[in-house]
Amino acid sequence: MKRLSFFVTIFFVVSLFSVTAYAQEVLKLGIPLPLTGTNAKFGEIEKKSYEIAMQEINAKGGVKGKKIVLEFEDSQGKPEIARSIVERLIDVKKQPVVFGEYSSSCSKAISAVAEERKVPYLVVTGATDDITQQKYKYVFRLNPTNAYYATGLMSFLNTVVKPKTIAILYESSDFGTSGAEDMVHQAKKAGFKVLVKEQYEKGAVDFRPILSKVKAAKPDVIYMVSYVMDAALLMRQIRELRIDSKLYAGGAAGFAIPEFIQNAKEASELVMTATLWSPQIAYPGAKEFAEKYKKLYKDYPSYHGAEAYSALYVIKDALTRAKSWKPDDIRAALKSTNMMTAFGPVRFQDKEGYTNQNFMDTLVMQVIKGKHETIWPQKYASAQYVYPIPKWRERK
């Protein structure tokens, strides 16, 4: 009984707060993000990027005269916590639109809640394909899905490398598994033979057993779907075992952020990775955002940052165009989104089995002289690609 009254009081206090918030002409938006736990790194990048976007929007007068105030809630990267955060945002704080979260598993959990409560949810970074394949009416996705992460890389492989065989290593998570499945699918379509397809537990100490297996199979391309530290360890041990393939490629995530180079050092040289975005890309606002971020935090943001930064603009755009700030009107506004962001063009389409999915070009980056350079498609390239790559033995 005591407990119940405690919760009731909390509930009243909270709702009181939200009432005063509306009175003050600010728009409070809660964002679930992993701020602690193993994905905290990415949560932090996104938080900083949302904040930059918020300041820019507020400096230009906010949304329909209301200043945006972002409230970040720590999901610890756990789906059940992400879910309860969003339930609270929708049920208690009556937030008419939800966005954010980093991992696919959390985004999936939130999607189910959003659809059930009929509140639009914008997925910002979760890349597992099936999130937008459920025919959910209220779930939108800004980032391309896993299946499309590698389209840029595939076009590079088909035009330049023309491999016959491929080995796929991936971490045993939602993201890793779906990335690997899609690669298998794409490889079949392109006629590569998959020699090795192995999963590993995230955080493994020693990859040499599976790498020895890869070495024995002699694939033309080694494709890896990993987060950052696993990526660095994998490349270090590939260098140590002198596994000579024509190409080492990563499927975004861990391979695409500067920490990969810092930790893998010389083993990262000439490694390619699929990516969705890079700081030098020619989208309007991309460079400005990247420089601003670098000035504040001493490092360029990863594509996750650009996604988060642009997500807030997409939300702002939808809120500005919506007839009212009721969930259904916001949904309708999101559906008709057609804008350019720092992350690229955004338009939510229903095609190829996806609902409300944004489709876009993906890029390939290569580590050249210790720096990520965009190399493909050539119209966006910041440097000429290095291929063929020398054997380990011949490198210094």
């Binding site: 790194k41 100490v205 040499r208 297996k213 360890l233």
Partner: protein
């Protein structure tokens, strides 16, 4: 030939991993033997040592292998303090739960990993030493060799140091008075007390030595691995499994248990699939409990008595 190369490379990898695992297991087994308590904060103590090594490397440019000499004494003192001000008082309390010490260590583990997140953020860190991906190759020494085997330099260094430390511990336990007291206490507390062993002092020393071992393990792990605040749990797990395989509290058993676990994990990774390695770890854990409840120690004891 390729199959042979694969097998040998896996065996080497497993052996080295096992040697390092053994060092983690040793510290846990030693504490377990004397204190009759599973220290579930073991991995988190290792995390602390790794942060010491990391900061020494980043700020003062001290090689992680040299920081053993700083991290180990630091953790030794830290261990003494924990033992004196936290474990001993709890040990004296009569409680319904016989395992309140275990609960205390779980609490410590949580406090440590959360404090690390607060102070050092959740960032992944590593010490990119210049020789991180150097290695020796069989074909460099013997160019006609039909197979190619490689030996990673930091891994080999870590392994050799782990062996040296293990031998050092063995000498300490068998040759010195303190070591003998520790073994006596571990075999029978009451008998040791009657023989005039200062059991409380022995307990403190043991916990301190356990900390030295885990600090060394941390310093040996950081050049080949990486570091983040929640890393402890994973290695506590490893230590726990080794302690069970080895036979609760047996140091000899822990060394063999560590090697078995390392080789077993590598073999599973190569011949079944790396995703299965954690499952394999559990399988071996359960198998040890069911078929060999006394652990490897019971086999060793049986052979000795048989003579």
């Amino acid at each position: 030939m390729e199959q042979l190369e694969l097998f040998l490379q896996t065996l080497i990898a497993g052996f080295m991993l096992g040697g390092l695992y053994a060092l983690i297991g040793l510290g846990m087994a030693l504490v377990m033997g004397v204190m009759r308590v599973i220290n579930l904060a073991h991995g988190d103590f290792m995390m602390i040592a790794m942060y010491i090594a990391y900061w020494l490397f980043t700020l003062l440019d001290i090689d992680p292998y040299l920081s053993v000499f700083i991290a180990a004494p630091a953790l030794f003192l830290f261990g003494l303090a924990i033992q004196k001000y936290l474990l001993t008082p709890v040990m004296k309390v009569e409680s319904i739960l016989p395992h309140n010490l275990v609960i205390l260590t779980v609490g410590l583990a949580m406090v440590f990993s959360n404090l690390a997140t607060v102070f050092f953020t959740g960032d992944y860190r590593s010490t990119p030493v210049s020789y991180a991906s150097n290695a020796w190759y069989l074909t460099d020494f013997w160019s006609e060799s039909p197979i190619e085997l490689s030996l990673s330099m930091p891994w080999t260094l870590s392994f050799v140091l782990a062996v040296v430390i293990t031998i050092g511990l063995w000498i300490f336990l068998t040759k010195t008075d303190m070591g003998k007291s520790i073994r006596a206490t571990s075999q029978d507390v009451d008998a040791a007390l009657l023989m005039g062993v200062n059991v409380n002092r022995v307990r403190m020393m043991t916990f301190g030595i356990g900390m030295i071992l885990v600090a060394a393990a941390g310093c040996l792990f950081i050049p080949i691995y990486y570091l983040y605040p929640a890393l402890g749990r994973q290695f506590t797990n490893v230590g726990f499994v080794i302690t069970v395989i080895g036979g609760m509290g047996s140091t000899n058993g822990a060394v063999i248990g560590g090697l078995i676990l390392g080789i077993f994990e590598s073999m599973t990774a190569t011949y079944i699939g790396m995703g299965w390695a954690p499952a394999g770890r559990f399988a071996i854990f359960v198998a040890a409990l069911v078929f060999l409840p006394g652990g490897i120690a019971s086999i060793i004891r049986k052979r000795r008595l048989g003579k």
